[in-house]
């Protein structure tokens, strides 16, 4: 082949190689739905317009596979950025999978986030991620079913709650007063922990399991009474790997009078109910006999950067995350991340984002959640937390399905929790 024919091809190849060599590829792993991923893609495209040397690729997996994907792909194929549940952070740090944040990000988080939220992204005083969403649990109730049952207002105490559950239950039509969720750890444990918090109790305090308390015993007994009286039908509460399923379907279709769920499920409710969404009200978790104020459980998510990424990829990842979570990168002085979260009904955690979204956060559905945030107790973040959460899930589900009594459940999970946390700490 003549040289003059080959030369342009060679030159083009070299040019392409030079361009690709200058572009840093950053992958972002999330569990968000396709609609939300599209918003993240759009934000990433805007970022890349301003930073043509950084290309962002978003990959989504079901929530049930997220932690497994992060752990099993550690190494060369690891995603550069991962959205993680804060409960997972201590063990990811212990195993050297996530990189500490650079000084610029540390300063930004310290200045822009409440101290308690920022603490959830730290291990041993070192910041490893940028917090984004904060979620809290509240009582969701169907106003139409309440009116039909003659209930004027959402229950404020456990006595009112069980009375409402009884009034809302109609076995002949397959309607349950209160929805319990199963087959999904957070869906089982967080509502339970919210009732416990509202009863003045705690799961773990200073690394010590507190499930042998009077408040915890009362909470197990509450669950037992809901099921044995038929006010909650466990078979109506199954969840699948995408955190949807019969528990959601039954609330959307008006078969469940009340349920305790987090704010992020607003988008699923709107999609399932359409105009019927206006019938959904939110209220604080009812106060238990040992509690004094309505409380709840909160938890946060954050984005972290993989230690498997090259220094250039890590730097590019932090640059993107700082932009994504930075002021003014979205609409109306909010961050681009805040816009994405608000589209799902998820509360942003950055102080400036909360200010920028005051009007939206004041809408009916979210206002019930915002009102409980102040008194919410953060879900304990400890080594062994994921295993503890799954053990508690198993215990609560066994109680729901009548395999053990409330007393047996309390004794069993306390013993399990002590063992799990001790083993994880060693």
């Amino acid at each position: 082949m003549k040289t003059w024919k080959v030369l342009p091809v060679l030159l083009l190849s070299c040019a392409a190689g030079a361009v690709s060599a200058q572009t840093t590829e950053v992958s972002y792993l999330t569990h968000w739905s396709p609609e939300t991923v599209a918003l993240l893609d759009a934000a990433a495209a805007r970022f890349s317009e301003q930073h043509p040397d950084i290309a962002i690729t978003v990959r989504a997996v079901p929530f049930g596979d997220l932690l497994t994907t992060i752990r099993s792909s550690a190494g060369q194929g690891a995603p550069t950025i991962s959205g993680i549940y804060d409960l997972w952070l201590p063990e990811l740090v212990r195993d050297g999978l996530v990189a500490p944040a650079p000084d610029s990000v540390v300063a930004d988080v310290a200045a822009g986030w409440p101290a308690g939220i920022a603490a959830a992204a730290q291990v041993g005083g070192t910041l490893y991620g940028i917090p984004n969403e904060v979620n809290v649990y509240a009582l969701n109730y169907n106003k139409a079913l309440f009116a039909a049952a003659g209930i004027d207002a959402p229950p404020a105490t456990w006595d009112e709650f069980t009375a409402a559950a009884a009034a809302l239950t109609d076995a002949s039509t397959g309607q349950q007063g209160f929805g319990l969720i199963n087959s999904w750890a957070a869906g089982v444990v967080h509502p339970f922990a919210s009732f416990l918090a509202s009863n003045g109790g705690a799961l773990i305090t200073d690394g010590v399991p507190m499930l042998d308390s009077v408040a915890a015993g009362e909470t197990f007994a509450l669950y037992e009474s809901l099921v044995t009286n038929g006010w909650a039908v466990p078979a109506m509460g199954t969840a699948d790997a995408n955190t949807t399923g019969p528990f959601l379907d039954n609330f959307v279709s008006g078969k469940t009078g009340m349920i305790v769920m987090a704010n992020w499920w607003e988008s699923a409710l709107r999609a399932g109910m359409g105009d019927g969404f206006d019938q959904i009200g939110t209220a604080p978790i009812p106060i238990g006999p040992s509690g004094e104020v309505a409380s709840s459980i909160s938890y946060t998510w954050q984005t972290v950067v993989s230690t498997s990424a090259t220094p250039e990829e890590q730097a590019a990842a932090w640059e993107f995350l700082a932009w994504l979570n930075g002021e003014g990168t979205g609409a109306s002085d909010a961050s681009a991340m805040s816009d994405i979260l608000m589209s799902m009904g998820i509360l942003p955690s950055r102080t400036s984002d909360v200010t920028a979204n005051q009007d939206v956060l004041g809408r009916d559905f979210l206002s019930g959640y915002v009102s409980v945030l102040e008194n919410a107790r953060a879900f304990p973040i400890v080594l062994g937390g994921q295993e503890f959460s799954e053990a508690l899930q198993q215990t609560i589900e066994s109680l729901e399905y009548g395999q053990i009594t409330a007393v047996e459940a309390q004794a069993s999970i306390q013993a399990d929790a002590v063992s799990i946390l001790e083993r994880a700490a060693n």
Partner: protein, 297 residues
């Protein structure tokens, strides 16, 4: 020189395959067994593994949550496997007999339908069946209602969830095992059936006297493959039930993934994997032993 060449030849020819097996099967197996006696985080170098003796095995058979969860997964896997084999193997023979009859109307269609279910990716099967099994809006409960049977809990209750997964597995796998059965039937000389007929044997006598004994090896193969497939069940649990409700569909593959990968408890996960391997060896050995005894009789 010729003698040395001859003695080296087998080693040279077997060497690559043996090396492959050694590298990709024996070495990981030995490593897993070694790790099962250690406390090790799966994301850290092997050098950080700490010797704990039999503690992992004591834990997985103990009374706390680690042991309860493992024993439940072991029990669920055993039940799932046994039911799958007991249903699939005989059913595949029945369907194979039907499909093998060239003169039966609809045989071709049946062959196509049966094997089509095996061709569908398990992820699609799992997602569709999760909707079929929906207690309130699923078509299965609606169809049961047409014939006066009340709604079933299917995947929504511990009493029925595992059996619902068995049904899903049977539906998905029956086509493959029917093909195996047809292959076994095809190998039986027609002269033997003819001889049996001449001797006065009816269809039932012919089946139990000629067909079934001559299908022994095919059925042995089917049983072993069905056991291995059933023990490896994962997608329906991962996609639909997440091991619930109340751990009733937690199987060993799912549980080992949760312990060994999600929680990074490599030592515990290895102990579970070794236990599963030993259980499989015992089971398959028992199946072969039963088959040999039956052949002698």
């Amino acid at each position: 020189m010729m003698r040395r060449t001859r003695s080296l030849a087998p080693a040279v020819m077997i060497g690559p395959a043996a090396g492959f097996i050694g590298l990709f099967i024996l070495v990981p197996t030995a490593l897993t067994i070694w790790l099962s006696f250690h406390d090790w985080s799966a994301q850290t170098p092997f050098g950080t593994a700490e010797w704990v003796g039999l503690r992992n095995y004591q834990d997985i058979f103990g009374e706390l949550s680690v042991g309860r969860d493992f024993k439940m997964a072991l029990r669920n896997t055993a039940v799932y496997t046994m039911l799958s084999v007991v249903i699939i193997v005989p059913l595949s023979v029945v369907l194979g007999l039907i499909v093998h009859q060239r003169d039966v109307a609809g045989g071709q269609i049946l062959r196509t339908v049966l094997f089509a279910s095996y061709m569908v990716p398990m992820i699609a099967v799992a997602l569709v069946w999760s909707k079929l099994y929906s207690p309130t809006e699923g078509p299965l409960n609606q169809m049961l209602g047409w014939v006066g049977i009340g709604p079933q809990t299917w995947l929504s209750a511990p009493q029925t969830a595992l059996y619902s997964l068995v049904l899903l597995n049977v539906w998905q796998q029956i086509g493959y095992f029917t093909v195996l059965a047809v292959a076994g039937l095809t190998q039986i000389p027609a002269t033997l059936h003819e001889a049996a007929r001449i001797d006065g044997a009816g269809p039932v006598q012919g089946f139990f006297g000629v067909t079934l004994p001559l299908m022994r090896r095919t059925l042995l193969f089917s049983a072993v493959i069905a056991i291995i497939n059933a023990v490896q069940v994962f997608e329906p649990v991962a996609l639909i039930t997440q091991g619930g409700p109340a751990g009733s569909t937690s199987v060993l593959t799912w549980h080992i993934r949760r312990v060994g990968i999600e929680r990074s408890q490599g030592g515990l996960g290895s102990a579970m994997a070794v236990t599963l391997m030993l259980a499989l060896i015992v089971t398959v050995t028992a199946v072969f032993a039963l088959n040999r005894r039956g052949a002698r009789e």
